[in-house]
Symmetry: C2
Subunit: 202 residues, 2 copies
């Protein structure tokens, strides 16, 4: 319980009252989700935990789905940043390593559990918010491939999202589907598969 | 609603009263899970739906976890059989194709939803049953690699489960995590990644 985990690094050091409100609300949302479920997430409880006027929360995050997906986007951006090491292999390695750190954190599994019932409901708000979450993640991570292309390391990519998918899918699959422990070999295999695809132009 | 789906093909044509009881109980378990949740799965309701004496169900499947995992093993074995086409590429292609057929079936997603809360609970029965489920699946599918090795197509494999993981993870990840639609390109990429690993000895 001592070390700083990826989930702890979420707090951005931005100035201004508006940024502080946003940080407090999204941190409270994350905690509420981890301690309960998406179905029990409430604007009022979040406002109380964040020490913010409920009207502010309702105004800036009109739906529960907005609140949850903004918390997820912030969490993912801070816990699994898109690295820029100067080489595609280094970028993919660093990216996979932070992803494994996040997936290894039992609180992330609690977040997924809190969210999974909602994910499989036919709720249009949730479906749209999740689509936005993954679009945001894939668009951000595509920068690793674009920079490698600009450096002449890899050819032009037909399907950059597909390359990233091959990099991250095994770690998610093991953590959230088979529930087997992550190990280094999985990382090496995923890295190898993604690099091969990228070098083939995917 | 007309065509025979992978889930419909579960019924084995085995003779004998014992096999009929087993088929009826596991089919009823699957239906109960899809219409509710693991938490609401009941031996009594399963016995009633299967037309079987409750004492028989309790005797042969003492826990809810046993009932659920036997239903899953039967479903997976029938819907995603381990093919034997005479070539590793053909085997992987056929295997991935039936997996996609299963994952594309909305009833499978309902099964996963029914089970996901239990998966993330600290229930030892469930954890053990799931471990057995995946061990059974991986052991069965490893035959594809063993036959390819025996034919001299690929070298001896250091980590056959890892190769299979690279083959199936992206399809599971997309269906159960990102919730994006499956497409042919994903299958081609996964096949390529798994074949490359197998040819390298993984």
């Amino acid at each position: 319980m001592a070390a700083v985990t990826p989930l702890d690094m979420v707090r951005a050091r931005r100035g201004g009252r508006s940024a502080r409100v946003r940080d407090a609300v999204l941190a409270a949302t994350r905690e509420e989700l981890m301690d309960g479920s998406y179905a029990s997430l409430s604007h009022l409880a979040v406002a109380r935990a964040a020490g913010v006027d409920p009207a502010t929360v309702y105004r800036r995050w009109p739906t529960r789905a907005r609140l949850a997906v903004d918390a997820l986007i912030e969490l993912a951006a801070e816990a699994v940043p898109v690295p820029d090491t100067g080489a595609l292999r280094g970028d993919f390695e660093a990216f996979h390593l932070s992803l494994v750190g996040l997936l290894d954190d039992p609180r992330l599994v609690r977040l997924f559990k809190a969210f999974s019932a909602a994910m499989f409901d036919e709720d249009a708000d949730v479906a749209e918010a999740l689509e936005e979450f993954w679009r945001d993640r894939y668009d951000g991570a595509t920068a690793m491939l674009e920079r490698a292309e600009a450096r002449g390391e890899i050819p032009s990519q037909r399907d950059p999202h597909g390359v990233l998918e091959q990099l991250v899918a095994p770690a998610y699959y093991r953590t959230l589907v088979t529930r087997r422990p992550l190990d280094r070999r999985l990382g090496e295999r995923s890295l190898q598969a993604a690099l091969t695809l990228a070098r083939d132009g995917s």
